[in-house]
Assembly symmetry: C2
Homo-oligomer: 271 residues x 2
């Protein structure tokens, strides 16, 4: 029978932690003096504490440990938990490794350019989205203008308001540019009756994205950076990419070209 300080010295576990284990019911002292409130532990409780520490070391949570100990340490359950833990740790290591690769890649990039890249590439899931769109083969990227006018015309006529920034879906760049100009619309079951403008829904997807400030003519830098990143970080493009016109030059008269803001999204998957 000893007080908490001595027990702490024997076990090399801080007093605070022992009190915490008492509080959550993981390791109750053998007895508590009802007058002083002092906790008294016995030497034999060291084994339980050691068992707790050993399980904790296998990165089980205190909660799990408490359950295991409460149920008399059923081998079956422990085995199951450890199997899960094994998978979990492997998973985590994979994540860490990828993170390490990204850090290393960024470092290399800094060393090379000796300045911050202007682009911050982010992976994000984008939701499924209902769109009204018009798809056509065009000879050059700026030729979309007419498509946009046609699309806006039809939507205006039908009094349909876009609910998010418009974008172009590029299904192919070579040998010809296969572009689909899109306006996100609310989903309400009705089908758009029109020979050229159709409504459909896009699936959600994981996207590698970046945001570009400046005129369309400088977009190629952004594409270069993004494609390089995708290749360098072990992803593969698996669908048509999007060019989202967050702030287009025409939106307000006093906007300079460098206020044009465009987001590029490539749907990707891990190799």
């Amino acid at each position: 029978m000893m007080k908490i300080g001595f027990f702490s010295k024997l076990s090399q576990v801080p007093v605070k932690t022992l009190r915490y284990y008492d509080e959550i019911g993981l390791l109750k002292p053998l007895k508590i003096d009802p007058f002083t409130g002092c906790r008294y532990y016995s030497v034999s409780q060291l084994s339980r504490l050691n068992r707790i520490l050993a399980l904790k070391d296998l990165s089980l949570s205190l909660d799990q440990i408490a359950h295991l100990l409460a149920e008399g340490l059923p081998v079956e359950q422990l085995r199951g938990m450890l199997r899960l833990k094994e998978i979990e740790i492997e998973e985590e290591m994979k994540v860490e490794q990828e993170k390490l690769a990204r850090v290393a890649a960024r470092l290399r990039q800094i060393e090379q350019e000796n300045e911050m890249s202007n682009y911050d590439i982010v992976i994000k899931k984008v939701d499924a989205q209902e769109i009204a769109s018009l798809r056509e083969i065009i000879p050059a990227y700026p030729e979309q203008g007419q498509l946009w006018e046609e699309l806006e015309g039809v939507l205006g006529e039908k009094k349909i308001k876009p609910i998010a920034p418009c974008f172009t879906l590029y299904h192919a760049d070579e040998p010809e540019i296969d572009a689909e100009v899109c306006e996100p619309i609310a989903k309400n079951g009705t089908v758009l009756e029109h020979p050229r403008v159709k409504s459909r829904s896009l699936q959600g997807a994981e996207m590698a994205t970046l945001i570009h400030h400046g005129p369309f003519a400088t977009l190629s830098n952004a594409y270069e950076a993004l494609l390089k990143w995708i290749e360098g970080n072990g992803y593969r493009i698996n669908g048509p990419y999007r060019e989202i016109y967050l702030q287009s030059p025409s939106e307000s008269g006093n906007q300079q070209d460098h206020d044009v803001i465009t987001e590029i999204q490539f749907p990707v998957e891990k190799i």
Copy 2:
């Protein structure tokens, strides 16, 4: 200029998180309506948010990110941080890997024995310790009895009280047993004047430990388990080991043999 919900949709960052970033000053909305309290964001703030997400992805803390952004993203500093991060992640991966090894080892052990081992091995740092001790070559382990009597006698004579459980330090088992019986004492500068009993201080060390319940005769199982663990988990013994008599058979008359509690500690280092 848009409200928080739209900004959240564009960035795919939850509204709650955006409010949180506002609260900690990481990403303040461009303006707040003084009457409704509504937050208004501009499209161009998406880049800052993206930058935040990109840095977060490199597992910098929000605090670090806030500092970096506040100081105009100095390349030097970022480089330093990333280098540190790199080392940190590598460190973490090593830890994970060892944990994985331990989990796997435990699983193998369970498969083999199909029951929980009675021993829970724990690595812990033990503190430096002042001791009074008596060292001698003995023909067999139980022959320590006389040494203990002699040590206790001297300490009793000098009115020195041990401050922790006594233990034996084994410097060698072969070809002869080189044992040192020890009593932890308080450090107070004075030297113990005695021809055979000396005081000295033991350094702190990292120890692989387990706790054994039962008579000394069954200690060999504990040693076997501990040595197997040390070998199987990539450690190496680097000093004399200790046998700590937490609860000795002589301590109280009514104690049965199975109430004897002994801790074994091997000083180890990672290979």
